[in-house]
């Protein structure tokens, strides 16, 4: 069963002549980790934003085609409605932080779900543990953490909501080798302990080979290659 279906998607940012996505089609299957790869400007982040409804609802531009995520058309369904079931972690974790402690940062993401206080508390601690951060981090400021810790807090805030689809937009690209290894360790634990559908946007083949069930390579806004990580797609 498909969690997301993208059909013949064309997208052009306002004020640009070229299309960022040119007839892109793909599907995301339930429970799989789909890696989306490609060079800078291939349309990876644009695709991620289209799957959350931020494109076209919050970013001005011209769209054609169809995107359906968990039965909701991202062209029509409200972004906050989609956000109840889809979580995204952006490349730069700092832009996502709005609270001054790690605990509040994760708890804030849970508030719109209208959960009980006990359930929120359980999820805050569980998600933090899942990304390999102990309770000592609860009262620390997210802005004062290392790059890898910041990204893990952003992942914890996304995972705590137990989304049906988790989109990770280049979670390791801004990090130094230590931070990268910390995030990869967190992703390993996520993969092992959760049966979550994940779209992993990544450009480093070594991580993709480890995590992905399937790989899609984008080039100039469309799917150039598709296959399993062992099918030679990563070499291409």
């Amino acid at each position: 069963m498909n969690v997301a279906v993208v059909e013949d998607l064309w997208w052009r940012y306002e004020g640009r002549e070229d299309y960022a996505l040119r007839g892109l089609s793909l599907e995301v299957r339930r429970g799989e980790v789909l890696a989306v790869m490609g060079h800078s400007g291939a349309g990876k982040t644009t695709l991620a934003l289209a799957m959350t409804g931020i494109i076209p609802q919050r970013v001005p531009g011209e769209i054609r085609g169809h995107v359906e995520v968990l039965g909701l058309s991202t062209l029509r369904a409200d972004v906050t409605e989609i956000a109840r079931r889809v979580s995204i972690v952006f490349e730069d974790p700092e832009v996502q932080f709005v609270m001054s402690t790690v605990e509040d940062e994760i708890a804030l993401a849970l508030e719109p779900l209208r959960l009980s206080r006990d359930e929120m508390r359980r999820r805050v601690l569980w998600s933090l543990e899942l990304v390999g951060l102990d309770r000592g981090f609860l009262n620390r400021s997210p802005l004062q953490l290392s790059g890898g810790e910041k990204q893990r807090v952003a992942i914890a805030a996304a995972v705590a909501r137990e989304p049906e689809l988790l989109i990770l937009d280049e979670p390791t690209s801004d990090l130094d080798p230590v931070g990268k290894e910390e995030v990869v360790a967190a992703l390993r634990r996520l993969r092992r302990e959760l049966d979550m559908t994940v779209v992993l946007i990544e450009h480093e083949p070594e991580y993709v080979a480890e995590f992905a069930d399937r790989v899609v390579v984008l080039r100039e806004g469309r799917v150039a290659m598709e296959g399993g990580p062992g099918d030679g797609v990563l070499k291409g």
Partner: protein
């Protein structure tokens, strides 16, 4: 728990009792003090408001020593106020010092610009300085004791919409982002050879004006990014929440603080009225 001022300059209220108060008390006490200021026109009244604000800061455990680093700014401000009263407002009263700065003799008479320091002028200056001082202290009290947790979950406990509570928190958080961006722009300019320290006041003013353009651009970008980040978590202006992660309740201490604040305001209104 980092407060707004704590994140900026590391000055936070240290009193556990005060920090445990409801956000309503933490916002309204400085507000009552500030609202007393328009009624404190006489130096003695202004001094009383300033003392009340000092007492409130001391009671809350706000480290006033942190203000030392702003001493130069405060002294400049005081000097500016005194000069303004002496140079531009000739307040009637007993003349203590008088000098003619400019004298233009024309066909129809003489135009003179005189510096006149009167006892009443000095009293007015003193009252003004004390009011500014009290205003700064009440702002410090607010910013050194309110956390974004207080704003989000405290307002939520008062049945404010969740989206509005987050927006209130973001307003204060914006101050932090603005200052952080300001330093980023300043450092970028310094890396390109701009020397703020050795520039004249006029040139420094021009340089800071230039910094406003990238600063505004950064602010717009940041607002956009934050709004996307919030929306992607399902937080929008109309969002609602069920229970609230942190519990905030008005306790007897809050009613006491609010009563004291309201009494202070009432007392200054009455004093101002009678005077």
């Amino acid at each position: 728990m980092p407060t707004i001022l704590g994140e900026l300059v590391g000055a936070e209220a240290r009193s556990r009792g005060y920090m445990d108060l409801h956000v309503l008390s933490k916002v309204f006490l400085p507000l009552f003090i500030s609202l007393s200021l328009p009624f404190a026109r006489q130096p003695l009244q202004a001094l009383a408001v300033a003392l009340v604000s000092v007492a409130a800061c001391v009671a809350a455990g706000v480290p006033l020593s942190a203000m030392k680093r702003y001493l130069a700014v405060i002294i400049s401000l005081v000097a500016f106020i005194v000069l303004a009263f002496s140079l531009f407002a000739q307040v009637p009263g007993r003349v203590l010092y008088e000098v003619t700065l400019v004298s233009i003799h024309a066909q129809r008479g003489v135009v003179e610009w005189r510096l006149v320091i009167t006892d009443t002028g000095l009293w007015y200056s003193a009252a003004f300085i004390l009011r500014v001082f009290a205003m700064v202290l009440s702002a410090v009290l607010l910013l050194a004791s309110v956390t974004d947790r207080d704003l989000v979950w405290g307002l939520l406990s008062l049945r404010a919409p969740f989206g509005a509570s987050v927006a209130a928190s973001l307003f204060f958080r914006g101050i932090h982002f603005f200052i952080s961006d300001f330093y980023t722009v300043r450092e970028a300019m310094m890396a390109r050879g701009v020397d703020f320290e050795r520039s004249s006041l006029a040139r420094r003013f021009r340089l800071y004006s230039n910094a406003l353009i990238p600063l505004l651009s950064l602010m717009v970008t940041r607002s956009y990014e934050v709004s996307l980040a919030l929306e992607s978590r399902g937080i929008a202006p109309g969002s609602r929440s069920a229970s609230g992660y942190h519990v905030y309740r008005l306790r007897p201490a809050d009613y006491a603080v609010l009563a004291v604040g309201a009494s202070v305001l009432a007392a200054f209104i009455a004093w101002g009225w009678l005077a």
